[in-house]
């Protein structure tokens, strides 16, 4: 039947790993950004909002190029990271995760912001009067109440990360086993004269993955909603 070749398995595993870490790593920053956009009024908010949405508007390749410029081993940030933490992002799966995270960030922040705006602030006030400090309120009231939105944002970002191609290939290149995620493997196959059947198999894998993650998200969302008693 349908058995994966080692290359496919590698690409699939890498894709999942990259998408997982990209989502996990961007969750905290996504939350902070959503908080800033939903709850704070400050000068330059429109700027932040614009920056967050930029990866949506600018072609992925450009995003990848900018990442390469900034975070390549010779880029200002990349050199610093390398010297301080011995951390290289470019040409590494961690870089692929970063590229995916940046591309998916607007979607994640949007979902979180919406759910944060829907949280009833009177419940937060009630928690304060019960003795909870602001951060405690955030952890015990705000976060649980916005969890459906966080879940939606995470799944959306996960899906987007799985499909990320342009920024990834530009930033971390197409290194099998290291940065060759599913879309990159797909690209490689499509570049060879007789790669079509292999490419089709990869497309099928991607589609199965998409459906699986969606089904998982629906399931989780329903459980969450039941949990919230709604």
């Amino acid at each position: 039947m349908f058995e994966l070749t080692p290359l496919e398995r590698e690409a699939l595993g890498l894709s999942l790993r990259v998408a997982f870490w990209s989502v996990l790593a961007s969750l905290p920053l996504g939350l902070v950004t959503a908080w800033l956009l939903a709850r704070c009024e400050f000068y330059g908010k429109t700027l932040i909002n614009g920056l967050v949405h930029l990866p949506l508007v600018v072609p992925p390749v450009v995003v990848g190029y900018v990442l390469l410029l900034l975070l390549g081993r010779r880029g200002p940030l990349g050199a610093w990271l390398y010297e301080t933490f011995d951390l290289t992002l470019a040409f590494d799966w961690k870089g692929a995760a970063l590229a995916a995270a940046v591309m998916a960030f607007p979607l994640m922040v949007r979902a979180m912001r919406l759910s944060l705006e829907a949280v009833d602030r009177r419940l937060e006030a009630a928690a304060r009067t019960l003795g909870a400090r602001p951060f405690g309120v955030f952890l015990t009231v705000t976060l649980p109440l916005m969890s459906p939105g966080i879940l939606a944002g995470a799944i959306l970002a996960f899906a987007r990360s799985l499909g990320e191609f342009g920024a990834t290939i530009t930033f971390v290149s197409n290194i099998p086993g290291e940065t060759q995620t599913l879309p990159l493997a797909l690209y490689s196959l499509s570049q060879t004269p007789d790669g079509e059947s292999g490419a089709l198999r990869l497309v099928a894998i991607a589609i199965v993955l998409a459906f699986a993650s969606l089904a998982a998200s629906e399931f989780l969302a329903r459980r969450l909603r039941r949990h919230m008693g709604a």
């Binding site: 009833d120 009177r122 419940l123 006030a125 009630a126 928690a127 304060r128 009067t129 019960l130 003795g131 909870a132 400090r133 405690g136 015990t140 009231v141 649980p144 109440l145 969890s147 949990h227 919230m228 008693g229 709604a230």
Partner: protein, 336 residues
């Protein structure tokens, strides 16, 4: 206003102190955060946490009180408020009255130095109100926490409060013991015409099993009311509405009106219209009676006249009875 007390809204200026603890003082830049004020707040809309079950809601505040400062424990509150049957339900599965009981318990378990109740019954319909009210009375009577109760409903205030603060259009109009303020003629527009009346302190002296009546002693005599389930000697407070009291020049015979007290007219309202409110002194207790202007004329009522107050026993019902609580209960009635 009540939000300012709780620290949720910051006033422009002023001073707030509870039990000797300064919470806010604009002149000294003191502004305690809500979580450090130790004020329990029962909200009009309940505000239960939808993602926690009843138990989770209840212990939310309790968990944040240091162990050695906990005077009120979960079991006690569950018993007091009868929350046992739905400890593991979600707020969305509770009726409105049950929700408010949980909200009461949650605020209590934070072991506050002061309880604020912002119209906790306003969102409930009458049967639900009747369900929750006894629980509030129990809190008042069995715990030693002062309560600030805010309400537009005079019947709730009368049933619960000792000290009344009358607010109108954001300003304090009067502060004082409940019975004093409800008797004051000049406050009548605020305390309400329809609900106008006097509050008297009484003691249960005898239970008449045969007719299911209780006899209450007050300084003006013995008041017979439908049976109250309290042992003789219990203190309680009775509200006699002006509209339930009629006047007579001589003691009427052979009527169904059981309570007839002799008194002297001390004051009479002088508003235009059909009705006249008459302030009586009945053995040292102030009572209000409402009669028609025509009766005042017919009976030639004047200040100083000796009259009989006729009080129907059946008019004294659960709505107007409250047990006294030793001045620990403060209530505001706000008027727009």
């Amino acid at each position: 206003m009540i939000n300012i007390l709780a620290g949720l809204v910051k006033p422009d200026s002023g001073r707030i102190a509870v039990a000797g603890k300064l919470l806010f003082d604009s002149s000294r830049s003191i502004d305690l955060t809500p979580e450090r004020r130790r004020i329990g707040y029962v909200f009009q809309e309940g505000r239960l946490f939808p993602h926690l079950n009843v138990r989770g809601n209840l212990i939310y505040g309790l968990q944040r009180v240091p162990r050695d400062e906990r005077r009120i424990e979960l079991e006690q509150v569950v018993r007091l408020l009868g929350l046992d049957p739905f400890l593991h339900r979600r707020p969305s599965d509770l009726s409105g009255g049950e929700k408010q009981r949980v909200a009461l318990g949650r605020a209590l378990l934070a072991n506050p130095h002061l309880m604020l109740m912002d119209e906790p019954l306003a969102a409930l319909d009458q049967p639900r109100k009747e369900e929750v009210m006894p629980f509030i009375e129990r809190l008042r009577d069995e715990l030693t926490i002062p309560i600030v109760y805010v309400s537009h409903a005079m019947d709730e205030v009368v049933r619960l409060a000792d000290t009344l603060v009358l607010l109108s259009e954001g300003r304090t109009v009067a502060v004082g013991p409940l019975d004093e303020l409800t008797s004051r003629l000049d406050l009548r527009p605020l305390t309400g015409r329809y609900e106008a009346g006097a509050v008297i302190d009484a003691t249960v002296v005898r239970q008449d099993q045969a007719f299911a009546l209780s006899e209450l002693a007050f300084s003006g005599g013995i008041l017979q009311v439908p049976h109250i389930d309290l042992p003789p000697g219990s203190q309680l407070r009775v509200r006699l509405r002006a509209r339930d009291i009629a006047l007579a020049l001589e003691r009427p015979e052979n009527t169904s009106i059981l309570n007839v007290f002799s008194g002297v007219i001390r004051d009479m309202s002088d508003e235009p219209g059909a009705q006249v409110d008459v302030l009586l002194d009945v053995g040292g207790t102030a009572l209000w009676a409402r009669v028609t202007a025509r009766s005042r004329h017919d009976l030639n009522l004047r200040i100083g006249s000796r009259v009989y107050a006729l009080v129907k026993a059946v008019a004294i019902d659960r709505h107007t009875l409250g047990r006294t609580s030793g001045r620990r209960f403060l209530a505001n009635k706000e008027i727009y």
